[in-house]
């Protein structure tokens, strides 16, 4: 009986809700389209890296955080508590704000998990177990080093034809790059003019994943980089890859 009353009330609410609130605000989304050679990225499919190595990806996953929407008057709306996990097997459509109003000229976002959430000594640090299991920052996403607590910013895993014989399935031709640590946290900023008019705004950006390997020859450089901190011998390799981020992300479109 109580459920039925609740249902009736809910229906009435839905009716009243139409057109409720200020007319000009929009919902803002960020949609990250993972691509390779300009097409939607397919896992376990042959691609050529920018420096000419035959590669396949089996896992691509990275965090997006510290988003700011930049207004025409240079004011910024910052979303310090929004964390998103982009994954090669998801749609990667992220709600930034339920209702925002104004004229904007750009967006900025960080790649990885900023130190406010990733530094166990930081005053803002929240232990990973405090996040619900479906939260982007839950260790359930396997983007977390549990023996040395901290978040993995990005996982790039797959195969690379390092023997350059055109065959990808040979032993030892796998690669696995796990990035992390505050020195590897980078921002992407893109100009794009948009004005909220009530309709949803989906800011789209393509991420051309093989471009992470621009000037990074998997035959001569590390194929497996799993640094445990920024002084680790693998870290310079991770930094090289992360520093290609600007070549990975394209311009914003709707």
């Amino acid at each position: 009986m109580k459920f039925r009353i609740a249902f009736i009330l809910l229906s009435i609410t839905a009716f009243f809700n139409i057109g409720c609130g200020s007319e000009k605000s929009s919902r803002i989304f960020l949609k990250i389209n993972l691509t390779a050679e300009g097409q939607p990225l397919q896992l376990n499919t042959d691609y050529t890296s920018p420096e000419g190595t035959l590669i396949q990806f089996s896992m691509v996953r990275f965090y997006v955080s510290q988003i700011s929407l930049i207004k025409e008057n240079n004011e910024e709306i910052h979303y310090p508590d929004n964390y998103y996990l982009a994954d090669s097997q998801s749609e990667n459509l992220f709600l930034i704000d339920e209702a925002v109003t104004g004229k904007f000229k750009g967006i900025r976002f960080g790649l990885g998990v900023d130190s406010t959430r990733n530094d166990s000594s930081g005053i803002y640090a929240i232990p990973a177990y405090e996040y619900p299991a479906d939260h982007a920052l839950s260790p359930a996403n396997f983007m977390y080093w549990s023996w040395n607590p901290g978040y993995i910013f990005m996982k790039l895993e797959g195969k690379a034809d390092t023997s350059a014989n055109g065959i990808l399935n040979e032993i030892g031709e796998t690669f696995s790059i796990h990035t992390g640590f505050k020195e590897a946290y980078v921002f992407i900023e893109r100009n794009y003019n948009f004005t909220t008019k009530g309709d949803d705004i989906i800011l789209q950006v393509n991420a051309e994943i093989p471009n992470f390997f621009t000037n990074y020859n998997l035959r001569s450089k590390k194929k497996d980089a799993h640094p445990s901190n920024s002084k680790h011998e693998d870290f310079p390799y991770v930094l090289e890859i992360v520093n290609n981020s600007n070549l990975v992300f394209g311009n914003i479109f709707e």
Binding site: K2, F3, I5, A6, L9, L10, I12, T13, F16, N17, G19, C20, G21, S120, P127, A128, Y129, E130, Y131, P132, A133, D134, S138, P139, A140, F142, Y144, S146, W147, N148, P149, P227, S228, N229, K231, H232, E233, F235
Partner: protein, 346 residues
């Protein structure tokens, strides 16, 4: 005019949402089991200090009971074959006899399983000491593909469906299983694992007959300036929780602390292990490479291998055969034989 109507509509709308919220809440409450917080009193030996308990996770009987159940339940592993107790076996002082831990599908991990007795006193966990508390530690074995290999998300789904856990999580936390209350329950149980009633403890508590003459000699050696064992294995739990390289190898395959710090000065340093219950937790060292206490004493007697990071405390000891036997016999007095029984199923 339009905006006036609009704001009335919105106000009404907020009111209705409130009513729905309240009515749904009362429905939910009827089905709830009431949370209980019966304080759990730790049985701390006289010579032990107070155990530090985090304020966000006070010990309660309900949480400890839930944690105990979880600890022994293979539901925590992907193929339901391995529980925490598969490696941390109560009868073996919550350690095991494998050189290196054996997880799901017989996968061999990189390290020897340590005892969990008195783990509530450890200021940090694992051999690199980078895990700050027991709550944080729980995630590691559950999700580790060489240990239990289960995604936290899938684990919570299992627990939600399980009649006992469904009820006990409500009782202990007043909510359904979440990562936060799951780790808190296990941590509570682990804090109850205390061992401090060995022959040695009885001796220092005044029972002069609790140790044999040989053990007393061994004790003197252990605490002596000549052997310096207690410089590292000192205090009520026979560890100072420092990080030391004892020269087990010239070249360490497992680089220990340096894994976390990437500092070459830390290669081969491991957290000093407790020596309580040591006679039953063989084999020894981070990789289980020394089989018996005899092997360990022979190792220390020789003064360890050449290694730039070796502690200056480790040097040849020139022990006589009688002294070696006495030392082993003393180490054996640190074992509390029946301590585990109170942690098994009631």
């Amino acid at each position: 005019m339009g905006t006036f109507l609009n704001s009335i509509r919105c106000l009404l709308n907020k009111f209705l949402i409130y009513i729905i919220g309240v009515s749904l809440f009362s429905i939910a409450c009827k089905e709830n089991i009431k949370k209980r917080e019966t304080p759990y009193i730790l049985d701390i030996p006289d010579a032990f200090p107070e155990m530090p308990i985090p304020s966000h996770n006070p010990l309660t009987v309900e949480k400890v009971e839930l944690g105990r159940k979880l600890f022994f339940d293979p539901i925590l592993s992907v193929d339901s074959t391995i529980s925490c107790a598969s490696c941390h076996i109560p009868q073996i002082a919550f350690a095991d006899h494998e050189p290196q831990a054996k997880g799901i599908h017989g996968k061999i991990g990189m390290r020897n399983t340590p005892t969990l007795y008195n783990i509530g006193y450890a200021p940090y966990l694992f051999m690199e000491g980078k895990v700050p508390d027991l709550e944080t530690q729980v995630i590691a074995p559950v999700q580790h593909e060489e240990e239990m290999g289960l995604n936290l998300r899938d684990l919570l789904k299992r627990l939600e469906k399980h009649p006992y856990y469904k009820k006990q999580f409500q009782l202990a936390f007043g909510e359904k299983p979440t990562p936060g209350n799951f780790v808190r329950a296990l941590a509570c149980f682990e804090r109850t694992l205390i061992s401090g009633n060995s022959s040695y403890d009885q001796y220092i508590n005044g029972d002069t007959n609790a140790l044999t003459a040989q053990q007393k000699l061994g004790m003197e050696l252990f605490f002596s300036e000549r052997l310096q064992c207690s410089k590292c294995h000192g205090g009520f739990n026979f560890t100072n929780y420092g990080f030391e390289n004892i020269g087990l190898y010239v070249h360490y395959e497992d680089i220990g602390l340096a894994r976390a710090t990437a500092d070459t000065n830390d290669i081969g340093k491991f957290k000093v292990p407790t020596l309580r219950n040591i006679s039953i937790t063989y084999p020894y060292m981070h990789n289980g490479s020394l089989q018996t206490l005899n092997d360990v004493i022979e190792f220390y007697n020789e003064g360890g291998k050449k290694n730039p990071n070796k502690s200056s405390l480790i040097k040849p000891l020139k022990l006589s055969e009688a002294e070696k036997k006495a030392l082993i016999s003393f180490l054996e007095s640190l074992t509390e034989e029946q301590a585990y029984t109170k942690y098994l199923q009631p």
